[in-house]
């Protein structure tokens, strides 16, 4: 059996954008993973063998959508070998199970927990200044890293197959995830300072009072840490501000 053509690989890669189309609580991304691999499996197998391999890939599968191409690329390489009846050291389903969970953990921490707040914070700075390109700046900044992983992860996985497991270790992705999250916290501190400073300047309130925002934010952060919902915090904060203004609390006159 020949190697998969670039066109087939491209079709698989594009289909990975629909990986979560049929997400469900039982198999999570399983059916989507079968859907993405199907054009390649069709080339590698025939008849009953094809049916059996498809059934296997439609089983439980869950990883981070931006790192799924890395898994899919490696699985394609392993499937190629299997279709040639080459000896395999690891069962393909075992390989999927082995990589999916660590990739999901690293991806969640790096992209959702770190990169998203970081780029959102930058975009907010632009939005506060009324720059209407803020959404585009956010999209550009956020998508650089995910697309790098989506493109090169897929190619790396396909080229290295089983050895692509080393990817996490070699690039120290868990360390990167922590660094991105720390950067996000520092940036959000700067964004808060900017928002508070602007407000004080607009209301002509003494700037030194801006430091009072730190304990206020910390109290809210501790509430959030104790499991109080964001919705409740928003409603409470809003209610307090409205009540203060209704009872005549005007910072500009009081200070």
């Amino acid at each position: 059996m020949m190697n998969l053509s670039p066109m087939i690989r491209l079709r698989v890669w594009l289909r990975l954008f629909l990986l979560q189309g049929s997400w469900n609580f039982e198999r999570l991304q399983g059916l989507g993973f079968f859907f993405a691999l199907y054009p390649a499996l069709q080339k590698l197998y025939r008849d009953e063998q094809l049916q059996q391999v498809c059934r296997e890939h439609a089983g439980y599968f869950n990883t981070h959508p931006f790192l799924a191409p890395s898994v899919a690329g490696a699985v394609l390489e392993l499937e190629q070998r299997r279709s040639r009846n080459e000896e395999q050291t690891v069962n393909i389903q075992d390989f999927k199970e082995m990589v999916a969970a660590p990739y999901a953990a690293v991806g969640d921490a790096m992209f959702w927990g770190g990169l998203r707040p970081l780029t959102a914070g930058i975009a907010i700075l632009f939005a506060v200044k009324g720059i209407i390109l803020a959404p585009l700046i956010f999209l550009l900044l956020f998508n650089l890293l995910p697309f790098w992983f989506r493109i090169f992860g897929f190619m790396y996985g396909y080229r290295n197959g089983l050895r692509s497991l080393e990817f996490l270790q070699q690039h120290r992705l868990p360390d990167w995830a922590i660094r991105i999250k720390e950067t996000a916290v520092v940036l959000l501190g700067g964004v808060s300072a900017f928002l508070v400073f602007q407000q004080l300047q607009a209301e002509q309130i003494p700037k030194g009072l801006g430091f009072l925002a730190i304990p206020l934010v910390l109290v809210l952060a501790l509430f959030a840490r104790r499991g109080i919902s964001t919705l409740l915090l928003v409603l409470l904060t809003t209610a307090v501000i409205i009540c203060l203004s209704l009872f005549g609390f005007e910072p500009t006159t009081w200070l």
């Binding site: 629909l18 979560q20 189309g21 049929s22 997400w23 469900n24 609580f25 039982e26 999570l28 059916l31 079968f34 859907f35 199907y38 094809l50 049916q51 498809c54 439609a58 931006f66 959702w112 927990g113 998203r116 707040p117 914070g121 939005a127 009324g130 209407i132 803020a134 959404p135 956010f138 999209l139 995910p146 720390e182 916290v185 940036l187 959000l188 501190g189 964004v191 808060s192 300072a193 928002l195 508070v196 400073f197 407000q199 607009a202 430091f211 925002a213 730190i214 934010v217 809210l220 952060a221 959030a224 840490r225 964001t230 919705l231 928003v234 809003t238 501000i241 409205i242 203060l244 005007e250």
Partner: protein, 230 residues
Amino acid sequence: MLVVDLFLGALVALVCGLDRVAVLQIMISRPIVAAPLAGWLLGDIEVGLQVGLMIELLWLARLPVGAAVPPDDTQVAIAGTVLAVALGKLLGLEGIEFILLCLLVAIPFGKFGQFFDRFARTRNRRTMERAEAALDSGNLSAAELYHLSGIAKFALAALGTYGVIVGGGIVLVPALAPVLLSGLEHSAEWIRLALPVVGIAVVVGTINVNRSLTLFSASFGMAFLLMWLV
């Protein structure tokens, strides 16, 4: 016209709603993108930018990890923008107070997004069972189509959430406007500041980083000092 504005908002709700889970995930579903997009289509990108700015950070700490379903901030942002622009034109109201009123009405309805999203994911169980039956019977193309039909359920969930928020807003905003707008008159600017700051506090409080509160305080203090003194 209200109907046209609602329809345009529904289009944005559909496209951006699919980006949340089912398709692409290039983050056009984030409020900072979705709200200005809705505002631009309705002819007032500034309102969309304001809404996106206030909503973006609110539920950012709720990660879409595994089976966790966060509140639908995408539809809150889009519906909030549509209400602010479309109802604003209809009622002759505008300004930050009215935008905030629309948002404060829209935000609690974001919880309905979790219900609709869970419903789509639960319904997709049947889709999966049908796809598996198709695979067992050798009808592989049908299994592909079943996967694609799952996307339609997420589309319906997005439109359902949008419909509930906009519907609730159309009923509540005109009723609450005479009562609350005066209350918001003096507090609007502070609430506009409070919404992103609450979001930041939740992120800082729940992010899995050692000494996140210390890092935040140091960064805030240093940045504020620089802006004050320079």
